[in-house]
Amino acid sequence: MRSADMGLVARPARAVRTLRLSPFTLTIPASALLIIFFTIPVLVLLLRSVLEPEPGLGNYAALLGSTTYLRIFSNTFIVSAVVTLVTLAIGFPVAWTLALLPPFAGQLVFGIILLSMWTNLLVRTYAWMVLLQRTGIINKTLMGLGLISEPLPLVNNLTGVTIGMTYIMLPFVILPLYGVVRKIDGSILQAAALCGATRFQALRLVFLPLVQPGLVAGGLMVFVMSLGYFITPALLGGTANMMLAELITQFVQSLVNWGMGGAAALVLLTVTLALYALQLRLFGTAGLGGR
């Protein structure tokens, strides 16, 4: 069937046709690219943290000895932890429902999730800046309902960052959890019912333990991604509520202090890699990260 168009394709030159490359040789271009433009620059940046302005651990002492920086670390961890818990709490019922919905409704919800996930990050963050502002629709609605008399400060603080990050991380929890729930054999739950378990018992003793690996994996992934997030915290948090990624860029761009920038980057990298190693140990697979 294909022979007709095969004849139209020019045959590669003889030298090319007989060329035979070992599989390892084939991986060299990609390896070279990543080593030159990824591994070496990152290592150099980390090295500068112990070499600039003078050799030693001075940058780390400054970073861990200042309450300003420690507050940035704690901000980062608290926001990431809250975002992780909230996305899991909301994402699990949605993933569960998706496994039950009839095809049309299911596809509709999937379409919405994908649209939100594929929309440019800046567009989504901008939308939340507008929604959450003092005269934004959320404050107006709450005031219109008489629930509040003064506009709530929802943006330029950690509340805004948490709302925006939850919005962005939700799809990363829902999609993998949906895969986990779909794979669960319904007859196990039937068996629980036949043995006299109430719905709540079946949920706590059978369903949740089966979903647990998915919850842990999804939670770890969201936590790690949140720790290193830059754009959303920078725009929704304002200058007074910095997170770790923004601190790194501040050191480098505004203060031109490469030593401190490298030190902060090393802290972020260490935590990320440690959690990633934990994930690999627990599940043996790589989670799909994001920005």
Binding site: L98, V130, A265
Partner: protein, 267 residues
């Protein structure tokens, strides 16, 4: 019982209500921004006092917006092509190889996806400042290629793992050279994976902000950098107009991907 509607009792209404609420939550900002981009309020007040196309006119009248969009498109297309090319070669090596460090290499290829992108951005910025690539198209392309390559390797590697190598071997037995068999038998068979790799790589570059902020110069900006720089100053509705156009592009791309998948399935 918990995985059937009938066994759920009143729980099912809680589940449906939560899902409906989350769907609204996910949709709300997107619909809202699209609506406000036609509103006349400079301060993006909702509901808008009047409707207007003013922000779209301002957007199109400013050559810097179009320029940055064009720059983004050029970079994303080149990155997509290079990423598929390098990714295909690497995926062949990884899937077909039996060398000792294979799994370590696989993990290495995925690291740019796992590490916080801000670290890569800062590190490459320092490197490019030194070798004079900062603020150049080449710098952008190389930086985005690092970000996009893991997606490519994953998508193509996955397709290649699902392909039965004995078909390629049969072609070789019938007299095809190894490369010829790979190009004419295997590559068409994994076209689906190549397409996904191209789309993911394109989006990885087109939507990328963090690295781009560091690669950009006053004269060379991508669209996300332009939006970022504008947002740092004020919340102008012009950004809402640009956002709406981007959302329409996203929808169109989703439709194309869905259609291609459907066609690929039916043949």
């Amino acid at each position: 019982m918990l995985l059937h509607w009938n066994g759920l009792g009143w729980w099912r209404w809680c589940l449906v209500a939560t899902t409906a609420a989350v769907a609204c939550f996910l949709l709300l900002p997107i619909v809202f921004i699209a609506a406000l981009s036609f509103g006349s309020s400079q301060w993006l007040i909702f509901p808008p006092p009047d409707w207007t196309l003013r922000w779209y006119q301002e957007l199109l009248a400013d050559p810097r917006w179009l320029e940055s969009a064009w720059t983004s498109l050029k970079i994303a297309l080149v990155v997509s092509a290079l990423s598929v090319f390098v990714g295909t070669i690497a995926a062949f090596g990884l899937v077909r190889g039996a060398f000792p460090a294979r799994n370590a290499l696989k993990a290495f290829f995925l690291t740019p996806m796992i590490l916080p992108v801000v670290v890569l951005a800062v590190a490459l910025y320092a490197f490019f400042l030194r070798i004079g690539l900062d603020g150049t198209i080449t710098g952008f392309v190389v930086a985005h290629l690092v970000v996009a390559l893991p997606y490519s390797i994953l998508a193509i590697g996955g397709a290649l793992e699902g392909f039965d190598k004995s078909i390629e071997d049969a072609a070789i037995l019938c007299g095809a050279a190894p490369l010829e068999a790979a190009l004419r038998v295997t590559v068409p068979a994994i076209a689906n994976g190549l397409f996904s790799a191209a789309v993911f790589s394109f989006l990885a570059s087109w939507d990328e902000v963090v690295v781009a902020i560091f690669m950009a110069s006053p004269t060379l900006q991508t669209l996300p950098v332009k939006i970022w720089a504008t947002l740092r100053q004020d919340l102008t509705p012009v950004v809402a107009a640009a956002s709406t156009i981007l959302i329409v592009f996203t929808l169109a791309l989703m439709l194309v991907v869905a259609l291609v998948r459907k066609v690929a399935k039916s043949t």
